[in-house]
Assembly symmetry: C2
Homo-oligomer: 414 residues x 2
């Protein structure tokens, strides 16, 4: 990185390990061994860990046994225990290798967020404590996914929060390297569990990664990639199960454009909501999406069809949201039904969002046509379409998602 911190010629490395990499004591010991290997070279290491796989889901289940829609401040109090458990165990694993190590909660690591509980945004990081502990010879283990408000309430960062913690810490600490360890070898042209012909990429641009991330490639959430892009944090996505080099994510370079399509992704985690017969008047859409935004519901695709029917002009408005937000979304749209006066709301959870991504798409025509032809040949109906400069996404029936993905991957990448 440009501002690399070079005290005593040591590198400062931030390593992030996800839930499956720390899923049981044996795996936590393996993480410690890997950290020890880097530490033996004299590098300073900050380790960011997630909750052990399954732990967060169990906590959510427990909360829902108490109340169906748990209050969000308390949900954060509850979920924060997941990462706190992992940091303590990881520090112990390093101690058992005779390494100095100290664990820190998000609060203790100086991670200050806004007060939107369960989806907090990092406002700033005060890295003094982390630097002091590093300089005293410690490996510093930081709980991912969490922080505290300036008033001292515990918050969590929402999905993908641990990646964000790692990248934000790398920026704040001016780290030389940020490694995101996961259970895959890097970023693939498609999910190799679904598409046998998928290949690992050596490098990818922030923008391509962003489109893949926001489209459900399971490697990383878009907000972390966005953060890395904004702060120029070059990071590597790699496997915690072997020593293979991973995929480097960085600013776009010229030769990246030679490739038309970098990857294909399928997002199964969205639901589609259609408001039928919305009055076709100025300000109505703004009112709807402001209300959703105020409730911290992320809306992804939006499609509005032409007005139809006799009488007052009305239109159908469709949008997609994260499936877990569906209950909250229903509350919001029920809330403004009388005011806005749409006829009915229809939700469909059985959708998939299939996307192709590549910076080379800009300079090549006919990409969309080729994608739609491929889907037609497979008998897949397209329900919604959305495009950007480097991406084309379609919403299709969930059950045909994988078949469609394989066909599109074969058409562009095999």
């Amino acid at each position: 990185m440009a501002n690399a911190r070079q005290s005593n010629f040591m590198a400062l490395i931030v390593q992030k390990y996800g839930g499956s990499s720390v899923g049981n004591p044996e795996r936590i010991k393996n993480v410690a061994k890997r950290v020890a290997k880097y530490r033996a070279k004299g590098d300073q290491i900050v380790v960011v860990v997630s909750a052990m796989s399954g732990v967060t889901d169990n906590l959510i289940k427990l909360a829902k046994e108490i109340m169906p829609l748990p209050t969000e401040r308390e949900m954060d109090m509850l979920l924060a225990t997941g990462e706190q458990t992992t940091i303590a165990l990881t520090a112990m694993a390093l101690h058992s290798l005779d390494l100095k190590a100290v664990s820190l909660t998000g609060s203790q690591a100086g991670i200050v967020t806004d007060d939107v509980h369960t989806k907090a945004k990092i406002q700033h990081i005060a890295p003094k404590q982390v630097h002091a502990l590093l300089d005293a010879g410690n490996v510093v283990i930081v709980a991912g996914f969490q922080g505290q408000t300036s008033a001292g309430h515990i918050t969590t960062l929402g999905r993908g929060g641990s990646d964000l913690t790692a990248i934000a810490l790398a920026a704040a600490l001016k780290a030389d390297l940020c490694q995101i360890y996961t259970d895959v070898d890097g970023v693939y042209t498609a999910d190799p569990r679904i598409v046998p012909g998928a290949r690992k990429l050596d490098e990818i641009s922030y923008d391509e990664m962003l489109e893949l991330a926001s489209l459900g490639a399971k490697v990383m959430q878009s907000r972390s990639v966005e953060f890395a892009k904004n702060f120029g944090v070059i990071f590597e996505v790699r496997s915690s199960l072997n020593d293979n080099p991973g995929t480097i994510v960085k600013e776009e370079t010229k030769n990246m454009e030679d490739v038309v399509i970098r990857g294909v992704s399928l997002d199964k985690h969205q639901a589609k909501v259609t408001l039928v017969a919305v009055p076709d008047q100025p300000g109505v859409a703004a009112r709807i999406f402001k209300a959703l935004g105020d409730a911290s519901i992320n809306v992804d695709m939006i499609v509005q069809n032409i007005s139809h029917g006799a009488g007052k002009p009305a239109t159908d408005l469709s949008f997609t949201i994260d499936k877990p937000d569906l209950l909250k979304t229903r509350k919001v749209i029920d809330g403004f039904k009388a005011e806005i006066g749409y006829r009915e709301a229809i939700a469909d959870e059985n959708i998939g969002k299939l996307s192709i991504v590549g910076v080379g798409m800009r300079s090549h025509s006919g990409v969309a046509a080729k994608m739609f032809e491929t889907l037609a040949r497979e008998g897949v109906n397209i329900e919604m379409i959305s495009t950007s400069e480097i991406k084309i996404s379609v919403v299709i029936e969930l059950t045909k998602g994988e078949q469609a993905m394989k066909a599109v991957h074969a058409a562009f990448l095999e």
Copy 2:
């Protein structure tokens, strides 16, 4: 209490619920219902909760899979998650009853401790945040068993720590009432699960409760009773399963002395260590117990036999410690073996400590003789004896503990 806080004529009540009272979501909901009943009367309520039963043991097991003797700062980081889970769930349960409630970790509640990890002592409590939340109409739920050092490290208070949190908070908040909810109806003359003739006591003095607590009556740890005595916190031990009045613990009153023996207790959680042939020189015992104290090992009974044998004078020195400290104790005594020059160390985990307690003992003679006779009649060998003004304790073989307890209870209390 003398300094009762009487703003707006409401009572301020601290209620503490132990691990089995919050052992599953259903029980947590029951706790919330009980709190709601008090809240409906207009009282201000502070709820202190332990980890759900089994949770702490599972965390310890997890830690030991990482390293056999987990480092203590990280153990605290790990164990603190147990109570943090419960406070979040308890707050949610109150929210689902439409009550305002906010959970606070020990740190957030202003509980400042020394830095002896896993056995920290409360140094002071800054109750400002709790008062502010109460005054804003909240039930405040505080994580028991934990605090933070002035440098911001998370600490735990050791066994019985949640009771201590409740009593210390009651003192700091000048509460009108402190209720310790547990799975028994109050303090009994003996453990009713072992002694069928055991009776519940309506009241008991701090000193009697102290002796019972320190001797293994499972209701409360001695440090909490000591704290209550020092700060004049009158508290009630009662059941979370019914509405029966419990046992009031308070300063000794005159008519308490009419009862010779208040109760009989059996402690199965100690181990006996004997150092054989310790040189009989001034300063040796001091050296030994200073080293144990420095390692934060609580020594309970100490017995030194007369010097024996020819040559240099040497003596056998026996003491009892908490069983979980045995590994640490071995390290300490191995450490000074060369320096002190004892011949060998013998540990015995199969002991029980049987005690009788009562302020009336002071004014009645022959109590010890009656106890020893009873044990002799049962064929129970006495290995160590220790007495105080209101207590007589003997160490006996663990397997004969319950038989001995029943016999002594029958002799004095039935």
